[in-house]
Amino acid sequence: MKLHEYQTKQIFADHGIPIPKGWVAETPEEAARIAQELGGPVAIKAQVLVGGRGKAGGIKLARTPEEAREVAERILSMTIKGLPVRKVLVEEAADIAQEIYLGITNDRAAKRPVVMASSEGGVDIEEVARRSPEKIVRAHIHPLLGLQAYQIRDLALGIELPREFWSSFIAFARALAQVYQKYDATLVEINPLVITRQGNLLALDAKLVVDDNALYRHPELEKFRDLDAEDPTEVEARQYGLSYIKLDGTVGCMVNGGGLAMATMDIIKLFGGEPANFLDIGGGANAEKVARAMRLILADPKVKVVLINIFGGITRCDEVARGILAAMEEVKPDIPMVVRLVGTNAEEGRALLQEAAMETATTLTEAAQKAVRLAYGQ
């Protein structure tokens, strides 16, 4: 789950990470009032959960409350990469002397979090990684011990941070590591972390992504969820324990297991078709879940055929068959289905489906070829 900049900054402030003074506004009038209150030049920043806000014109300076109103009005009417801007963050414009980068993410290979710092802040860090990888210094966090001050000093040295900022940088990075750990983050990032002309460190931007698997430990974050940022069908699917991602093709897929679902999409493509979606019904899917999944697929008008590929392990094929029958009963689809059931209780499943008029297949290759043929109306 991604948090908005203003939400992340609120968490930062609670943990002693310095941020610019500011508030969030939903109307141009509010933005003007905040600018008035702040009493100086302000930055007005679109709160949308996509990258590249700045390039899209979602971040602007305003010198007066009146200008803040105008800028906010413009930004609040924007749609950035498909997402409507519903809120702007209005905050004191910082007097920037230097911009650096500081972030923490999980290093899968090292099996521990890694802190990354760069003297090149305020630019795309992946771009920095490509262009001049030596500009990014790293320190791994021992999962049981946590980030230590000496590691932060190593980073400070690595990015050639002037010594007068070391102690505030240490406090800053420790607090960031604390936020990372406390909120089960998979990414926390400050880009840029600025050194102001007054000699203070300040988190000018703030990004926080929380591990979805750990959300049960953070009920307080539920209120931060922004449904705008997510595909409503994907959200609905998640509510039913399904993993669904909409694509552009015509062959709807219902598969158990993420790897097999990808392989099924890949083989559809290999045989000349286009998958309409990724859909993993998960392990141990029961009949109700399968029926939900079927309805999700059939809701997409582009779908011309549905390929059901179930390999029973935790999932039992008879339960899946019952789900399919229930969904057919209710939705009464007028498009063809290709069903392939193998593994745990496959025979019982197949027996249940015998009466329904469905194409069946033995191998995945056969199933994919049949589905592609049917998608092209053959």
Binding site: N106, R108, A109, K111, R112, P113, E126, H142, P143, L144, Q181, D184, T186, D211, N213, A214, Y216, R217, S243, I245, L247, V255, N256, G257, G258, G259, L260, A261, M262, A263, M265, D266, I267, I268, K269, L270, P275, F278, D280, G282, G283, G284, F311, G312, G313, I314, T315, V342, G343, T344, T363, L364, T365, A368
Partner: protein, 289 residues
């Protein structure tokens, strides 16, 4: 011979009184596995299938039954505790089936287990199958026959698909190890490849990967340097859009890294035959063996 387990391995099931735990414990027993104990805190003294004693703690279970491998079916929020408990009670190999464990929990558990020298397979994995001997986890037993091919995979059902296709062609398996689909997990491709390389009963290896991370690329390096046995691979996710989590927590192309193309390229550079679809693996194996 096989890797990790054999027909005499004494297996414990943590979470045995839950729906999935009980169902699969039964399947394991039916397959011939030595399931000697179960653990569910608060349910010590019960019996499962009238023959498997249930204990409150792993320590008690190990003391009473000599269990050495534990298969974990407990819910995600209790799974880290279950794994640490197993490690502290003297279990040498933990096989964690559970899906959805927070990644920071896993980083802690893996660090601790490494310290203790306890092996971990998974989490979010289908477990280990030694055809004809034993199974610990949820891999259907009837889709593989004993044979000379080691299978290692990040996936669950996709692995069954491959094994099934092999079986249809009469190609047997020495051991199948599902290392799991989570970004942070225990044994990786390299450790399992090494075991297969050293296993006299394995003649070829199937590696099933997917998008996300760099484990396949590192495995490719390892194969090029250290493997004498042929490796056949399949990578799922050529059609996966970037930035989207494809079911498994670990299956995501991030910052342009971890694409199927990049993995396939690395493997082919290491002289690994990469199949275009799962069933083609069996065809390639048939030509190799």
């Amino acid at each position: 011979m096989a890797i990790l387990m054999n027909k005499n391995t004494r297996i414990l099931v943590q979470g045995i009184t839950g729906r999935e735990g009980r169902f699969h414990a039964e399947r394991m027993v039916a397959y011939g596995a030595q399931v000697v104990a179960g653990v569910t805190p608060g349910k010590g003294g019960m019996w499962v299938m009238d023959r498997i004693p249930v204990f409150d703690t792993v320590r008690d279970a190990v003391r009473a039954t000599g269990a050495e491998v534990s298969v974990i079916f407990v819910p995600a929020r209790f799974a880290a505790d279950a794994m640490l408990e197993a490690a502290d009670a003297g279990i040498r190999l933990i096989i964690a089936i559970t899906e959805g464990i927070p990644i920071q929990d896993m980083m802690k558990v893996v660090t601790y287990l490494d310290e203790k020298g306890v092996k971990l397979v998974g989490p979010n994995c289908p477990g280990v199958l030694v055809p004809g001997q034993t199974k610990a986890g949820i891999i259907p037993g009837n889709i593989a026959i004993p044979g000379p091919v080691g299978v290692v995979s990040r996936s669950g059902t996709l692995t069954y698909e491959v094994m099934y296709a092999m079986q249809q062609r009469g190609i047997g398996v020495s051991t199948t190890v599902g290392i799991g689909g989570d970004p942070v997990h225990g044994l990786g491709f390299i450790e399992v490849l090494q075991m297969f390389e050293e296993d006299p009963d394995t003649q070829a290896v199937v590696l099933i990967g997917e998008i996300g991370g760099t484990e396949e690329q590192k495995a490719a390096e390892y194969i090029a340097r250290h493997m004498s046995k042929p490796v056949v691979a399949y990578i799922a996710g050529r059609t996966a859009p970037p930035g989207k989590r494809m079911g498994h927590a670990g299956a995501i192309v991030e910052g342009g890294e971890g694409t199927a193309e990049e993995k396939i390229r690395a493997l082919e550079a290491a002289d690994v035959r990469v199949a275009r679809h799962p069933e083609e693996i069996a065809e390639i194996l048939a030509s190799l063996l």
